[in-house]
Subunit: 197 residues, 2 copies
């Protein structure tokens, strides 16, 4: 299989991390997340979002969206519960990540990586939204070892992706002890890989 990938992208790391857990072999093709020219030509037929990660199977079928890809490969493995309600809780956290977490915390980090100085009002809006997401995680992780199903799943992989690099976007994690404990638990899973791997 071929993974259109980016080494700095937390979304791509999710797929690489699950593949590492499962021992899945694949080829990586690096795309820039800063220069996006040529995305339509390259990914237009493969992924409506024109984003990385995009996965191309050996038979030519393709799949976009990091959380759809990990859901597909995690089915029937320890990384996705068999219980229907627990699977829905995994999805709840994955959708939370894409709507209420990534657009704030990942984008603030992207601005720092790309050397972009946004208007102050935009920077403050990112800080507000990202802080709300971290508070929601902190409240939940105060009572739970992992996000869903009381075990390490693709929900944890989804939220770890940009939470563990949140300080790069200006979100300090000192005041979130439950999140810090959870980050340590995720990082100590057998087969854990770095985003820079």
């Amino acid at each position: 299989m071929l993974l259109y990938d980016s080494q700095v992208s937390g979304n791509c790391w999710k797929v690489r991390q699950l593949f590492a857990h499962l021992g899945i072999e694949y080829e990586r093709r690096e795309l820039s997340v800063i220069d996006r020219s040529g995305r339509r030509e390259l990914l237009g037929e493969l992924n409506p979002g024109l984003r990385v990660p995009t996965l191309v199977f050996d038979d030519g079928r393709s799949l976009g969206e990091s959380n759809a890809i990990t859901f597909y490969f995690a089915e029937g493995t320890p990384y996705l519960p068999d219980d229907r309600f627990e699977r829905a809780q995994v999805l709840q956290w994955q959708f939370f990540e894409q709507y209420s977490h990534e657009p704030y915390i990942a984008v603030a980090r992207f601005w720092a990586i790309a050397g972009i100085t946004p208007p102050e009002a935009e920077r403050e809006a990112k800080l507000r939204g990202g802080t709300a997401a971290l508070r929601a995680m902190e409240a939940h992780l105060g009572d739970h070892e992992f996000l869903a199903g009381e075990r390490y799943t693709i929900a944890d992989i989804a939220l770890y992706a940009y939470t563990h690099v949140a300080p790069e976007g200006g979100f300090e994690l000192e005041s979130y002890p439950a999140i810090r404990g959870w980050l340590d638990r995720v990082a100590s899973q057998p087969g854990h890989i770095q985003i820079t791997d």
Copy 2:
């Protein structure tokens, strides 16, 4: 079951539409999408996103995120394919909807409903993002009757929600004939309900 709901919300309509198809009975409790005070007290223990829809089961368990809720209830019904890859394609379109469609098209409509006049640069950014999402849908629906699995699924319910009211946010659909044909096919499904129902 109790659904924390909003009549103007396309995200809530997705759940009401699937429940109508499946003949599921539930109680609705209307929350304002404009005055969000009290959301933490009301939804804090139920849904980390503090958003509607939030569903509370009779045994007290709860689930947030419109697309996680519809995925849960669609399993084992005609509205979600049994095939693992087709289910992943449904998820791909649901995540596309939440990341690349809703933040532009639903928010532009929300501004119009709430009487908010955003800064011109923000309005243009919404228009650009929403247009990109509509173009991706138009390209796919030029070759397919429905978004995933070649049949009507919760992926179509997810994208119909805010696409059919996109003109309320300033997105005209005249130049998207494939989308307009698909909107008609979705609206002609047995048991189709209006967002205002």
